[in-house]
């Protein structure tokens, strides 16, 4: 895997976590809502999801600020069928990033997969772009 570029490794990582967690889509986006990498099954729109995720992150940041809370570690958005969007904002160096996955139902675990992905993204970043 180390022979791949950093960008290719990010895409590969997202494919892996989709497979591991049963997610139909995962995206890594910046705080402006531009997708840096994604892995998605047919019919999903990663660019739209990235834009929405950045919007959710901004709203959450406002809420945290207004309530005097620390920055959000995870933001979830559930629909009535139990499908949910999980956003994990985090920093690498000076760059703010958001990892977002769609979890198909309440029965699916996702935390371990997203934790591992955040750690891997940091490692890839440091290896290639620090």
């Amino acid at each position: 895997m180390d022979e791949l570029s950093g960008s290719a490794q990010l895409n590969s990582l997202l494919l892996n976590i989709n497979s591991e967690g049963g997610f139909p889509i995962s995206v890594l986006t910046d705080f402006q809502g531009l997708a840096i990498a994604w892995a998605a099954s047919n019919g999903m729109d990663p660019e739209r999801q990235s834009a929405v995720v950045a919007f959710v992150q901004r709203a959450a940041a406002q809420v945290s600020k207004q309530l005097g809370m620390a920055e959000a570690d995870e933001i979830s958005f559930y629909d009535t069928n139990g499908q949910h969007l999980v956003c994990r904002p985090f920093q690498v160096d000076t760059y703010g990033l958001i990892l977002a996955v769609v979890v198909p139902d309440r029965g699916h675990s996702y935390r371990r997969a997203t934790n591992r992905a955040v750690g891997e993204i940091r490692r890839i970043w440091k290896t290639f772009w620090k």
Binding site: S5, S7, D30, L34, A35, W38, S50, W129
Partner: protein, 285 residues
Amino acid sequence: MQGNLRDMAIAELIQLTCQDRKTAQLKIDHSGQQAILYFMDGNVAHAVLGNQTGEEVVYQILRWEDGVFDLKTGVKPPKKTITRNWSGILLEGAKRLDENKVGDDLTPIVKNNHPEDKGMAKLGDMLSRRTNFMEFDRGDDQKDYQKNSQKDIQNYDHKDNDMSKMDDILKEMSGEITGYVACALVGLDGINIASHTSNKAADPDAISAQLTMLLKLVDATVEKLGAGIIEDNLTTTESAYILMRFLPGKQYYLGMAANRKTGNLGNLRLISKLYTERLAMAMPS
């Protein structure tokens, strides 16, 4: 205002006069010919060269590299033979020069060679190093080069290392861009410091010269809008993303193109940020 075209190119004179929304007369003497341009409220209104008048005169004189000019403000045009706006004329001029390009014909239109401009002097120096070294490598006029002192030759070695370092960084960067098409590190006179492309048919020098004009226009517009400092400039076409980002100091910029279908705008912006920092650090001081 009077001056020499070696200090200020005609394209720059047009740009400055129009950006200041001046009404003026610009006389240019070159090799026994005299052209007169008239400006009205920030646009080129009329041009005369011998028996010719109108837009074609401007395109003809844009290739003049030497001569003297005399700009008088407040002189109104005797008639109006040009309707296209000034930026359109300059872009068309660049296109025509490009189409007829032989050697360095395109250079004057984007030249910005104020002698006091250290950035440009540095760029000129870098370019001459590159040219010299390339010729040296090719074996052309080797005898002449052998006359150079050992110190000069060592300098060429350093200079070549500088350039190959830039080439290496661009090559590495190309592997990080999804849907990669091309990239170039360009000075604000429109000349490539280094470039890399997967499209062999493209002419990176001509493309860079034209993109530089575009970036300068955008920069001037943003300044007029008081919209702060440009972070990057994105052009989205049916099939490509073209992104330009200044290096710190705004003397150079990184231009990159990616396929819109296979590429990814977030990836392109991120990589442009990361690599402009690297390129800036690798620039020879």
